[in-house]
């Protein structure tokens, strides 16, 4: 009955429900990273080890979150936020070691922002999206980026904002629809019992006459 819940409680409920999307997205990320590492290992040994360590750490952590979800044990909000932060940091780390702006791994920011946008509150979304945009812009600028590539950097950042805003707007639309559906299903309260209208003088006289008359 989300419409009767207070705002923070509804946000928590949203976070817990949306955790499924986060977990699925993280499994996709982990599997893709493992496949790409196994099929085309074009990094130095040390970087490869580091990348595998990061991927396996994410996988283990995701398994823990999945186990919590399956056994219906509540996960702390802070843990969910930290896990998403770890995802973004892992992607940023991958981008950093693969050449900043020229790293092909930046595309993983988009699914990561997608899940954050449909699960987190607008405030948290703002924090995560602006941090991601700033971190990626710094990573890109820190590499030797060509002046001709600057418009494409702006485009990448703009699309990150687009994904985040569209996802969060959809989340709010769905919240409103759910509230409306819950309100429509609520049984109507019984009508208030009507008090008898006060009797007029003539009515009172008649009533007394009827009461005093003896039945045959």
């Amino acid at each position: 009955m989300s419409h009767s819940l207070s705002k923070p409680l509804a946000a928590t409920e949203e976070l817990i429900e949306g955790q499924k999307v986060i977990i699925v997205a993280r499994w996709m990320f982990v599997l893709t990273m493992l496949l790409l590492t196994v099929l085309a290992p074009n990094l130095t040994v040390n970087r490869l080890r580091l990348q595998l360590l990061g991927t396996f750490s994410l996988a283990i952590f995701n398994f823990y979150l999945l186990a919590q979800l399956i056994t219906r044990k509540p996960t702390l909000q802070a843990v969910i936020y930290l896990a998403s932060l770890a995802d973004l940091l892992a992607i940023s780390f991958g981008v950093r070691i693969q050449g900043g702006f020229y790293s092909p791994g930046f595309v993983f920011y988009y699914p990561a922002l997608l899940v954050i946008s449909v699960v987190f509150t607008p405030t948290m979304l703002f924090v995560f999206t602006s941090s991601t945009v700033i971190i990626y812009a710094l990573l890109a600028v820190s590499t030797q980026i060509w002046i001709n590539d600057v418009p494409f950097l702006i485009l990448r950042l703009l699309m990150m904002v687009a994904v985040a805003l569209c996802g969060n707007h959809f989340r709010e639309i769905e919240q409103a629809r759910r509230r409306a559906a819950a309100q429509a299903a609520e049984p109507l309260p019984p009508p208030p019992a009507e008090e008898p209208a006060p009797l007029s003088v003539a009515d009172r006289h008649l009533t007394r006459l009827v009461e005093n008359r003896s039945l045959p």
């Binding site: 429900e17 988009y110 899940v115 485009l155 569209c166 759910r178």
Partner: protein, 194 residues
Amino acid sequence: MKSTSFSQEAAEDIFFGQIVIIWARWFLIAAGGVLTLLATQTTNEVMGAVYWMGILIALNFFIHARYLMGKPANQMLLAAAGGVDVFIITLLVWFWPGPTGIENHLYILYYPILFTFALVLPPALTVPFTLVTLAFYLGMCVWETPYILFSVTSIKVIGMRLVSLVAMSGLGMFYWRIQRERRRASARPEARTA
């Protein structure tokens, strides 16, 4: 009775959700503005950008105005507009001056379009839409830069792009399904009081 309520629910999904598709297209148009202002060198390039942006602006203005008037687009119109988006992005990736095929950076415009399509339209439409988009992009990349078939690094790069595009669509569909179930649960009084 049940099928009527399901079809009504599907119509409501389109009715309420299409604004996110409209906003994604406005972002696409804004991206076109950035490209036109910062990445064009000649008058012909500016004019070329104005043509496709004009098509998108006219299309989105029409759909947005209908939405504001309380007469939102139906499923077929939204799907067709999504097709126009994908077609224009593919043309951009193909013909934009500079590097083409896998080297072109404009494929990122697919991301918000695929995502919002998956959020609003049913999976029966989203799955073919995603497959056609991926086929367009992959076909264009192979046509323009055939060497990618023989380069492990290029296959890795294209694999990352395709997987992340599928993730956008797949996660959008997954969220759509979760929301539908939650809405149905909210509408069942016995489920809410239990």
